[in-house]
Symmetry: C2
Subunit: 200 residues, 2 copies
């Protein structure tokens, strides 16, 4: 590898970005079953041997694309109160999981995790990072005196978001902003009542 | 069709039971991708043309097998208090979703619903029936005065179970009896605080 291909903006970096972008596009449009090195090569205009050498397979591509997604700039809402932070969070989640054009990718990735242990591991790391970023919602609520000390910051986030995923992907029921608000309100009520105090 | 093949215990009924049993076995052992009429014919010893004629395809097989599962004798726990009913329910769920030999089928069916609209519809009906059966948990709690009138009986069940499905199939985190107990306790706290009052 020469200095020219190593630098940001160099060909290696351009290829990498194109391949990961193509991976997400193929996943969103056609699902994990269609995610092949050939499909990504065609979509990205990067040679298939380059892709094989660096990512190996569909497993490697989805893992790398999800790891890349974890480094985005997303931050949780900061509205000044626990319940409205959670409400913004769950409403954003509902939009992301139901809007045409946004919803296909998370669904494809969650589905892929059933079929590929590497996809499952990448999904685990993606949500662990999201959980870490969302911990600040509870930390600020503790500082404001809205929540008891020792509240498990991540457990609130899981409680607020889980009913939305449950309806969409397990019981296969519809979700809307009302469901988002109810999930946020329930998590806030339970948190204030001390339901998420750490079990030590 | 003759009287002999129509009667319960007749050949038609035996074939039907064998085919649906084989469908569930193939799903549990090999997943939805392996669920073909050929595989079910081989496993059930029922001729493939009989299977094609009656169920059509993998979609039809999974829908029929899930519909059959919905007619089982399962009943929710009845322990005398809301929180312990929910705790039994979530512990049973954790066992069913994590014990080798039990866990494979629900995972395969949830995965299939991402790939087949008929499987998704069958899963929706399966959980709707489970929700209906579990409503009695909240009804008894209202009668005992543990919960306010007007509590949404199904919303409690969703809240208790959702965090377990979320960890297993979305954030891909481990679950155990402690997670089950915490989910039950959280749902009970929120329910007692009126978080699941119907929004009318």
């Amino acid at each position: 590898m020469t200095a020219a291909t190593r630098r940001p903006g160099g060909r290696t970096e351009r290829n990498r970005a194109a391949v990961l972008r193509a991976t997400l596009s193929v996943l969103a449009e056609q699902g994990f079953a269609a995610l092949t090195v050939e499909a990504v090569a065609e979509r990205s205009d990067v040679h298939r041997t380059t892709i094989y050498r660096r990512w190996g397979s569909a497993d490697g591509l989805i893992a790398a694309a999800l790891a890349e997604s974890s480094t985005d700039a997303w931050q949780p809402p900061d509205t000044g109160s626990l319940e409205s932070d959670l409400r913004e969070l769950t409403r954003e989640l509902v939009r992301g999981l139901t809007s045409p054009g946004d919803a296909e990718l998370p669904s494809a990735v969650i589905s892929a995790a059933f079929q590929s242990e590497r996809a499952a591991q990448a999904l685990r790391e993606f949500y662990a990072e999201r959980h870490r970023r969302c911990a600040v919602i509870a930390e600020r609520a503790v500082e404001r005196g809205e929540l008891p000390q020792g509240t498990d910051e991540v457990e609130i986030v899981r409680a607020a978001c889980a009913p939305i995923f449950y309806r969409l992907f397990i019981s296969r029921e519809p979700v809307d902003a009302g469901v988002a608000d109810a999930a946020a309100a329930t998590a806030a009520v339970a948190a204030r009542a001390g339901a998420f105090r750490r079990r030590d």
